[in-house]
């Protein structure tokens, strides 16, 4: 309770200070908090700007596709390399090196390959979400207690039973962490892709209002995007906590 009180006081203080600083200054450059509710309303109504709902829906679909591919590809490659030690030793350093390269440098080439449409955003969201998932699978497989595998084998567990009943639960919390990070990064990838160049999607609308210097609407959009992302991450967090509880 005390924590919540202090947190609320802190946020109120920040907003108050922001308001005090912004009010006497140029409203195009400095958007006061008091201007945001009105701007939010205009954004949601699509007043003098593209209607948000269609673009938001498209962005969510892109995120869904990017993340779905990242999960499928990440799990596949992760288990392939993790369960075959030789392959892992060959390819894991390459993966780690690729992960260390700032992903934005790939984006121009993705635009060349996939064009301005949704596919380049999906590709970028996939690329960002994919690495933390693969790496968490590799780390998770390695972290499974070998002795537990011996014990299960002694009781007659074959490779599939060992995988399902020992490896998977043994790595669940690490994997859940990787899946959550992957989701957050897939969201970032899609949004960054849209902002860098798109004809539709939330990023496109952001660019649109920003290009017209309608900063209050821009801030309103940022608030909406933040809310959506918080909801997505919150749901992912619930799943992660559940997986951790399940895995003990």
């Amino acid at each position: 309770m005390r924590v919540w009180t202090w947190r609320a006081l802190f946020l109120a203080g920040v907003l108050g200070a922001w308001e005090a600083v912004a009010r006497p200054l140029d409203p195009v450059l400095y958007v006061a908090p008091s201007a945001i509710p009105g701007a939010l309303l205009r954004v949601l109504r699509g007043q003098d700007m593209p209607a948000l709902s269609g673009h938001l829906w498209l962005t969510l679909q892109e995120i869904g596709a990017a993340y779905g591919l990242a999960v499928a590809g990440g799990l596949w490659l992760g288990f392939l390399l993790g369960l075959r030690p030789l392959l892992g030793r060959i390819y894991e350093p390459i993966l780690a090196a690729l992960y260390a390269i700032p992903s934005v440098v790939w984006y121009p080439s993705l635009m060349l390959f996939f064009g301005l449409g949704p596919s380049s955003k999906i590709a970028f969201g996939f690329l960002l979400g994919f690495f933390p998932i693969v790496l968490s699978v590799l780390a998770g497989v390695r972290q499974v207690d070998r002795h537990l595998i011996t014990v299960a084998t002694s009781m007659g567990a074959g490779p599939w039973a060992v995988f399902r009943k020992v490896v998977l639960p043994g790595m669940a919390s690490t994997l859940a962490g990787g899946l959550r990070t992957g989701l957050a990064l897939s969201v970032v990838g899609v949004l960054v892709g849209e902002v860098l160049g798109a004809r539709s999607g939330v990023g496109y609308v952001l660019n649109y209002v920003y290009g017209l210097l309608r900063t209050p609407e821009y801030v309103g959009l940022v608030v909406i995007v933040a809310a959506v992302v918080l909801v997505i991450d919150g749901v992912a967090g619930i799943f992660e906590a559940r997986a951790k509880r399940w895995a003990g």
């Binding site: 207690d145 002795h147 537990l148 011996t150 014990v151 299960a152 084998t153 002694s154 009781m155 007659g156 567990a157 039973a161 009943k165 020992v166 639960p169 043994g170 669940a172 399940w246 895995a247 003990g248």
Partner: protein, 259 residues
């Protein structure tokens, strides 16, 4: 009745970068039906490797291992159950679900699994702890869950690899007494690996003494003493002295070999 476990000239070497390291050399041994046989030897003498080979977890390089007359190539959970020094409980399963594991693999229906597991946890003094997770149990309790998990397979043979090795002395003594009781009830054939003279004398019908690495059987001594065993009785003291004589030599050799 034929001997349930038969080893003929069994050997095993581990391949390392520095070349093969022999672990077990030419072990021949017959374990009789319903017998409690201890394998006693210094640490690192290959006793665990030997047990792993009997359990089908480690492949032998040479010789023959027969369980009920059949060559061992992989674990046979319908005939042989194993208990290890590290209880190896699944941390994400409750005590009850840990005990159920083997039956789950065999496709036994859930209600039946539960019934069997509850019936095994009660006599090991874990009634009321069924829903606890391993981290909430003491070391002795964990090992009892692991033993209950092995007993759940209801096999005629039980292989135990220093099961009380990680426990404090008091718990160890109590667990030994408890195992004597279990054994009297279930009449299993038990092979028990240990480095404790006292444990071997208290529990076994026969004691096989192993040499230091590469391990082979040096001597097999019968223990003709009634239960519960008094370690201070003259025959027990004499046996202990004889075992110590064997083991001391081997332990010294093992120590020098390592130094």
């Amino acid at each position: 009745m034929a001997d349930p476990i038969l080893l003929r000239e069994v050997s095993k070497a581990y391949q390392t970068a520095a070349g093969p390291i022999p672990a077990v050399r030419s072990v021949s041994l017959a374990v009789r039906d319903q017998e409690f046989l201890s394998i006693l030897g210094p640490s690192g003498c290959g006793k665990s490797t030997l047990l792993g080979m009997i359990g089908g977890l480690v492949a032998a390089d040479g010789g023959q291992i027969l369980i009920d007359g059949e060559a061992v190539t992989r674990p046979s959970p319908r005939k042989v159950a194993m208990v290890f020094q590290d209880p190896g409980l699944f941390p994400w399963r409750t005590a009850l679900d840990n005990v159920c594991f083997g039956l789950e693999l065999q496709g036994v229906p859930q209600a039946r699994r539960r019934e069997v597991a509850l019936g095994l946890l009660e006599p090991v003094g874990l009634k009321g702890f069924e829903d606890r997770y391993p981290r909430e149990l003491s070391g002795g309790m964990r090992q009892r869950v692991a033993i209950a998990r092995a007993l759940a397979l209801d096999t005629p043979i039980l292989l135990m690899d220093e099961p009380f090795g990680a426990l404090d002395e008091q718990t160890r003594l109590l667990m030994g007494e408890w195992l004597v009781g279990i054994r009297a009830r279930t009449r299993k054939t038990i092979v028990f690996v240990t480095h404790s003279l006292q444990e071997a004398i208290t529990l076994s019908d026969r004691i096989a003494v192993m040499t230091s690495r590469p391990g082979t059987i040096k001597d097999v001594l019968p223990v003709d003493l009634p239960y519960p065993r008094d370690l201070n009785s003259p025959p027990a003291v004499a046996l202990r002295a004889k075992l110590w004589d064997h083991v001391r030599d081997e332990s010294l050799r093992a120590m020098e070999g390592r130094a």
